[in-house]
Symmetry: C2
């Protein structure tokens, strides 16, 4: 029977001190959060107007203005508050905390007497509350504010926002459910939020309400069609007839392909996985496995981007992965991280953590300018200024990160993910010696005896100090220069003289050769306890024990499945978890003329740049074809030798505006 | 100074009896024209409704119905009538002629007292006549009916339609021009039609009116912006702000890149070239050269398709030639044939005739089902059922030819081109011994002495009998199995005992090796008079003289300019003028997994198919990659040997619905 293999652990249990990630965490706490606060308060000139906090003031009766923005503008504030909550665990900041408390107070004032909270429908159309769940995002906004409330409570211990959102959750619970009004959200989010609220409060009604929304999706009669029939008004022109868009083509347990709006899909699947673990629901787990497989093995870009089409910001069909008209919304890659993390809780298997890593180091990070002040919504794998951002098919593929968006879902999503990164690096299973079969068992893999012991899981290689209850209490210090270097050293310090537990460390799927040493002695690879991509090291750990991993990290040529039309004949360059790309800044224009010979020499080289900082570049001997005058010719184009300079994909678009491409024809 | 190097010659001067083209001409006369007549009369079930003839009945007061169809529905009748006119020169058909005369009588009855003719604005919105030239196609419809009138007059000698359209032309001339009302058409066509009307009638006002419309385009203040301002109503939502769409970004003589709606562009450029020759306008000729170069050397598909984007059915930017989201409207390739033909009149140069041939044998013919009853509007170079015709980006790329269209411009355009093919095969310059410098001179190529002699030009290799006035009168019989075979034999029969003239024969750009023999004696290649891709053979021809050409016609690998992103790393197969493609029918699905090794063996083989008939197939040893389970892998995909069967592109889509592709990755 499926069940969670990991406990929830507090964010503070892993303090990140890392040569790679600390930069981003500091960037978010010091730059991004204040920058976004200014935007939400409309204090920055020359950026897309937010008005999100002013909307709360208007709803609270403290201002006379007009509502402005998307129908889900409230969620920008929610996600920012959630990021602030996490940031306080990294960097206490009483002034920021006070300002956030003031906003929370304002949110409370904007709440209606019956618990309802949504500034759009409070200010603009109170008569239309709850009538257009397909388009109007009331449950979505509630979900995000619930997430913020849980984060705020867990970080600060304060219940101010939690109390507000419990009232809203109760309001929702009083309205929707079996024997009450029928409803499901067009944009999923409330489901995963209610599960977090359930765990924060212990209130089982929230678990059941989440399950109601999950179970109801895709059942007949179609809720969105019924809603559309009953409604005499429209917010947008969307109708509910597209059953893929909001993942309602079948009851969720019967679904087998990831469809529609990719962010919606990820938020739903995240909740499904979470719920499967909470209620030990095997059929839900099996659906999650199918949907994960559909997402990452047939519809995912090399960068962990998902969503091939701007139309519906959506998945299309298997193996359709255009690089230049791509959508690959930053939020979708973040959602994929959420989904993979929840799957990993149910089964320690690198098929989940590898994807989490891929998205984090590539498609998520690319969403933010290296200075934290500009953001991509769409993360292309090929950009051609003049087409990209200009021609109708490419209009959404903007070659330079804008400062803000009218639909600003992505920037605060990056903030909350990066400030809560600790939750993704480590897992812990303590005191679970009950021998309940794990999903691994159900797939005919015998649980090793070490499974009966406390286990800590190292999912990501991030420097810092992890404090675990395993083996009676232990501190594990990680030192690494990952992803620039493949060496990771874990130093164990038990609270008592010795501590028996299992340290389970992911061996990444990208790695062909690695060495493991324990206290300086190299372990025989054949004797290692390797299961599902995790190396299990069980022992009685004593003070100063060191487990060292050394992953061979050459530059790799990566090939797409030949069913992917758009990458036919092409190769991409990766090193460790990082996808590399060519930029015009380093390689000149007309990148489509570059060819990578099969025998070309690929090297990793330290590089430094005033904007990008220090990074590892990939250099490659290559060919550049010489365009002739003829559009078509019987003669193969002439070629000149050249040397390419590839940069990590997450760093692209930080310098001059120019061409970029990931996939290179191989010759 | 630019001037026409060819005279107008009557269609009847070249009687086609050809193993390739006679099929299509017979198909059009016997099947397509009656089929389209039924559709225009709404007599066929299960096809997109036309109503085009009924609209004329309503406008004539002979029926009470409601107008139906596009604002340019009249033009479908015009193009059909034009095709009927040409078809009567191929195959006299008194009954068809009578029915056409009845329709012409109806058209006359639909004409207003002031000469105005347009059923939409007569029936639906008489108060809005001539107020929306940008969108409403009144001048476009007039142009097509003028072309029909000229064709009808030239084929039958009857002036019934010519009289009607002279009244309409006079109406237009009375309204528009310098010192009268300002105006230019949104969709060009009237310009080239008025030039034909001028030549048919000798009335110089029509020449001047054509020149007015050409000269006025792109001048300031912008006509379409002014019109938009003055108008309080809209037909469509288009505004006049896009200066590329209707080629009004600059006065035509200053234009240097082909832009916007590609059919509009071709019709304009055709008229510009025609006018340049009529009025000896060197700057207009130079603009035509630039626009031809922009079209065919930077924006044309291998098939002679043009228009890369569905948005505006338009050109985009140089070297942007997506194969799967392509537009490449059949009408645009037809327009390119018109443009190339007019250019060729001004300068016998294979850069024009090669393009004419490329479009004719590929992108034009592909527009019609092999049975003449279905038609493509969009002619893709890659089709993937499930994406093509379904997903929003690919919605317009229908994998199977529909029977008819709501916007049915293409089908009758194919009909009129195929029935008038004689006009494209031969050219004639008789009695032009005036030593006026030709454009060739202006490019520093000395006119050979033979230029002072009568010349006949063989632009296309089509079997049949050409009757020329050259050298005092001569008949030239052509025998060939082109394009399946590279042998062409011209047998000359002078009207008198001997006849001195130059036979100028195109040596196609695709041909690397050829032999020429005169009366069985092979000519020394070094002694040939070859200029601009034409072989000039001047002599005193006597009865039975034979000039034989033998073009080596191997299967060729063709490469796109490396600036074309979408064809990077790919090769296409051609033989003679024919582009080849792979279809699922012959090669199975997942054509994106096919790779063509550089050293693979390519052979031409006779093939026969119940639907396609006899044709030459290309067979190629190749590789097929084996899709694994992984979406991305460090291992290059495994490959199996396979043999490909490629069919001529013009034949694609005639059998089962399936994948098709032209460009194949080369390894």
């Amino acid at each position: 029977m499926v069940k969670k293999q990991e406990h929830e652990i507090p964010l503070t249990s892993f303090r990140i001190e890392d040569s790679f990630w600390s930069y981003f965490q500091k960037l978010v706490t010091d730059v991004v959060i204040p920058y976004q606060e200014q935007i939400l308060n409309d204090e920055l000139p020359d950026v897309e107007k937010s008005h999100a906090i002013e909307n709360f003031r208007i709803a609270a009766g403290k201002s006379d203005g007009e509502y402005y923005g998307m129908v889900f503008q409230d969620s920008d504030v929610a996600k920012w508050l959630e990021a602030v909550a996490y940031s306080l665990t990294l960097n206490p900041n009483p002034e920021l905390e006070k300002r956030a408390d003031d906003i929370i107070e304002l949110i409370g004032q904007a709440q209606q007497e019956d618990g309802y909270l949504n500034t759009y429908f409070t200010v603009k159309e109170p008569e239309h509350r709850w009538q257009n769940l397909h388009d109007c995002h009331e449950l979505y906004c509630a979900g995000h504010m619930i997430e913020a409330a849980v984060a705020w409570y867990e970080s600060t211990g304060k219940t101010n926002l939690l109390d507000i959102m419990c009232r809203m959750a109760d309001h929702i619970d009083n309205r929707f459910g079996k024997g009450k009004v029928r409803g499901i959200p067009g944009h999923e989010e409330i489901e995963l939020a209610l599960l977090r609220l359930y765990r924060a409060t212990g209130e089982e009604r929230y678990l059941h309400l989440s399950q109601y929304f999950i179970d109801e999706r895709g059942t007949q009669p179609d809720y969105f069609e019924e809603e559309e029939k009953n409604r005499g008004w429209h917010f947008w022109s969307k109708d509910g007839s597209d059953k893929n868009y909001a993942q309602n083509y079948a009851p969720v347990r019967e679904q087998d392909h990831a469809t529609g709006h990719s962010v919606r899909a990820m938020y739903l699947y995240t909740a499904m996985a979470d719920l499967a673990g909470e209620i030990h629901d095997e059929s839900l787990w099996q659906a999650c496995l199918r949907l994960f497989d559909s997402t990452v093995n047939r519809q995912m870009y090399l960068t962990g981007g998902i969503g091939s089409s701007v139309h519906g910001e959506a998945f299309t069909v298997d193996y359709d992965l255009p690089n230049d008209t791509i959508y690959a919304e930053t939020c979708a890659s973040i959602g994929l991280v959420f989904f993979a993390r929840r799957m990993l809780e149910l089964k320690p298997d690198r098929r989940f953590s590898d994807v989490m890593e891929r998205a984090l180091y590539n498609g998520v990070l690319s969403g933010m300018q290296h200075d934290g002040k500009r953001f991509f919504y769409v993360n292309p794998l090929e950009v051609i200024p003049g087409l990209s951002g200009v021609q109708p098919e490419y209009k959404h593929v903007i070659p330079k990160r804008p400062k803000w968006y009218a639909c600003a879902c992505c920037p605060p999503n990056v903030s909350r993910l990066l400030t809560s990164l600790s939750a993704y690096a480590w897992g812990e299973s303590v005191g679970q010696n009950d021998k309940t079969p794990s999903p691994a068992d159900s797939e005919n893999e015998a649980a090793a005896s070490t499974d009966t012991c406390d286990t800590v899981y190292s999912h990501l290689y991030i420097g810092g100090t992890f404090t675990s209850k395993a083996g009676g209490g232990v501190t594990i210090r990680t030192e690494t220069s990952y992803p620039w270097d493949g060496a990771v050293c874990y130093t164990v310090t038990p609270d008592s003289a010795a501590s028996e537990f299992t340290l389970a460390v992911r061996i990444p799927g990208w790695c062909r050769d690695f060495l493991v040493s324990l206290n300086g002695q190299v372990l025989d690879t054949n004797s290692l306890d390797l299961r599902d991509g995790y190396l299990y090291v069980n022992r009685s750990w004593t003070n100063g024990d060191q487990l060292k991993l050394s992953f061979d990290m050459p530059v790799r040529r990566v090939y797409a499945n030949p069913l992917v039309r758009e990458d036919a004949g092409c190769v991409a360059l990766m090193r460790g978890p990082l996808v590399y790309c060519l930029e015009q800044e380093d390689n000149g224009p007309q990148l489509q003329t570059v060819r990578l010979p099969k025998d070309s020499i690929l090297t990793a080289e330290n590089a430094s740049d005033p904007v990008l900082g220090s990074y590892t570049a990939v250099r490659a001997t290559a060919l550049r074809l010489t365009p002739g005058d003829d559009l078509y010719s019987d003669e193969p184009p002439k070629a000149e030798e050249t040397v390419l300079h590839a940069v990590p994909y997450y760093l692209w678009g930080n310098r001059s505006e120019g061409e970029m491409r990931v996939w290179i024809p191989e010759v």
